[in-house]
């Protein structure tokens, strides 16, 4: 988990730089500050479980095992990207890793994840789906409809809410009155848990309990993971709406520093090992960037493919050549 958090931080810092230098054709939303939240959540899942990522999904996807190279190439709009360059940052998908397509309409991925979870239940497997969303999305009607339905039918799904303090361009206090959105769970007849989203072990523990409950037929859980995004809604966001000084406060609770410090104190990790981990991750990310840089763009006419099921094959016949980053 320590390595993964570093991987996500490095990936996001690098994408932030690459965005500034104009390498990406579109916008990106990074999750710097939320590494413990996504890592603890995804590590509580099995490889064959599912996640439904959001528009701020790079970390969610990496934590579930997406190759950084494929994810980077997708941000470049390259043909070797996870979605053949046609999805982009907001729609990262890797079905082999159980990463359902990233959904950029707030809350809209929840019923999709619930349907995938229901399919597994009907097939008699014990696979679980975890749907990510934020406190902004929590006010969408579809979120309420889906939670009611999932609870009613005891679907094997975990609703993982990342309260990262800001919904688009305003503080969460402009959006809802509750101190924790986990309290809404009672309205749907499911457990609601609040967790310190910057404590990776706590997130892992709480998510693990929810996953276990879902896997054993106990139905859904709502987890409110309290964290903070340290960057803007999108890269380049001037963030005039930020509460003054909040980043300094949250940096004191930096999830990676906290976990690293604790492991050093408990003698689980040495400074040298930590440096090696970080150096390895730097190489992985630079390899991913090089891979994306060297990859070709799709042929423009590929835009016409895959509009309907089974249509077009040129893009899909492409051989991988990806460089994987293991956990």
């Amino acid at each position: 988990m320590y390595s993964m958090m570093h991987l996500i931080r490095r990936y996001e810092s690098r994408t932030s730089e690459l965005f500034k230098s104009g390498k990406f054709p579109g916008w990106i939303h990074v999750c710097i500050g939320q590494e413990a939240s996504v890592t603890g959540a995804c590590f509580a899942l099995r490889d064959d479980d599912y996640i439904s990522p959001t528009h701020r999904g790079h970390g969610q996807c990496l934590a579930k095992g997406m190759s950084p190279a494929k994810a980077m190439a997708e941000l470049y709009g390259k043909r070797t990207g996870s979605n053949l360059g046609r999805g982009g940052s907001m729609h990262l998908c890797d079905m082999e890793k159980g990463i359902l397509c990233g959904i950029a309409i707030l809350g809209a991925g929840l019923p999709f994840a619930a349907g995938v979870a229901m399919a597994e239940k009907l097939k008699g497997t014990d696979r679980v789906a975890m749907a990510f969303f934020g406190e902004g999305a929590s006010n969408e009607g579809i979120v309420h409809e889906t939670m009611n339905l999932a609870s009613l039918w005891s679907l094997p799904i975990v609703f993982f809410l990342e309260s990262n303090q800001y919904a688009e361009l305003s503080h969460k206090s402009f959006h809802h009155k509750l101190d924790t959105l986990a309290r809404r769970a009672e309205g749907y007849g499911m457990p609601g848990v609040t967790v310190d989203g910057n404590d990776v072990l706590e997130v892992y523990r709480v998510a693990g309990e929810a996953v276990k409950r879902a896997r054993e037929g106990g139905g859904p859980t709502l987890i409110d993971s309290i964290t903070c995004r340290l960057h803007g809604h999108y890269e380049g966001d001037p963030q005039v709406y930020r509460i003054p000084g909040d980043r300094d406060e949250w940096r004191k609770k930096d999830p990676i520093d906290r976990f690293g410090k604790r492991m050093l104190e408990e003698g689980i990790l040495t400074d040298e090992e930590s440096r090696e981990i970080i150096a390895g991750i730097d190489r992985t990310i630079e390899d991913a960037v090089a891979y994306a840089e060297e990859s070709p763009y799709p042929d423009p006419e590929e835009a016409l493919e895959l509009v309907y099921a089974g249509q077009g094959g040129r893009a899909r016949s492409l051989e991988g050549g990806e460089r994987r980053c293991g956990r």
């Binding site: 360059g85 046609r86 999709f112 619930a114 399919a119 097939k123 579809i142 889906t146 895959l306």
Partner: protein
Amino acid sequence: MRSDPAVLYFGEDAGGKVGGPFALAKGLQDEFGTGRVYDTPDSEAAFVGLAVGLAASGFRPIVDISFMDFTLVAMDQIVNMAAKLVYMSGGQVKRIPLVIHTMAGAGRRAGAQHSQSLEAWFAQVPGLKIAAPSNPYDLKGIMKSAIRDDNPVIVMKHKAMLGMKGDVPEGDYTVPLGKASVKREGADVTIVAVSQMVNVALQAAGLLAGEGIEAEVVDPVTISPLDTETIVDSVRKTGRLVTLHESYKPCGIGAEIGAVVFEECFDFLQAPLVRVASSFNPFPYSPGMEDFTVPDVSRVVEAVRKVLKN
């Protein structure tokens, strides 16, 4: 559902004794059980979205949205999810075999929120298919094609089909998606009509035959993808075109058909086309006002006379 266990059914009040507001699913749960036929909460967006997830995972869900007006509640899930997942995932989501069937159309004094025909809205969406069968034979055949299709298909049925009688073979047959059918042949004018308006056009054609006018009635059956070839072939033969639908004229399917005809066979046209559609107002409740709004046989006859005058 008997031939494929992957077919599931979802709808408000679909289970139990009722089988939905039009009893379309009556007896379905008795035969297939609660594991395949689901009585859903009144959450169109959620159960359409749920069905999209099931469709991506090997099932073939049929969703009953009782009134087409309510598809708007689920529009995000239909347009942003069902229609786009194969594309934006780069083909990793391999198929979304989802059927949404829904009652459309006016004439039942159902008012502004239970009477609309929204086929043109969905025809703007790549990745979706939309069919509007006009008789019981086509409905059964289209439903089978839709269920077996790997894409999201919306099947809109006009409320006039409730209680409509027509020959329907017992066995397995399909009516293909994307193929128009010529419901009546004629040499003088082409009427392209949608859904229940096909039946209105056929009545009008019967009256016109008494005046020595032979109208050809073309039923697109599927609105998207639209079989433009059959339409263009007919207009090449007759040289005159009337379009007819219950939805509105601006940006309606008649406008699209007219544009296709202009692009493909302008030189064959002997007169400007005439579009017949509902007047541009919400569907009113009071019978006189609703009947005024919706095209009827006399308006079609009038339109044909007009297109023949030029």
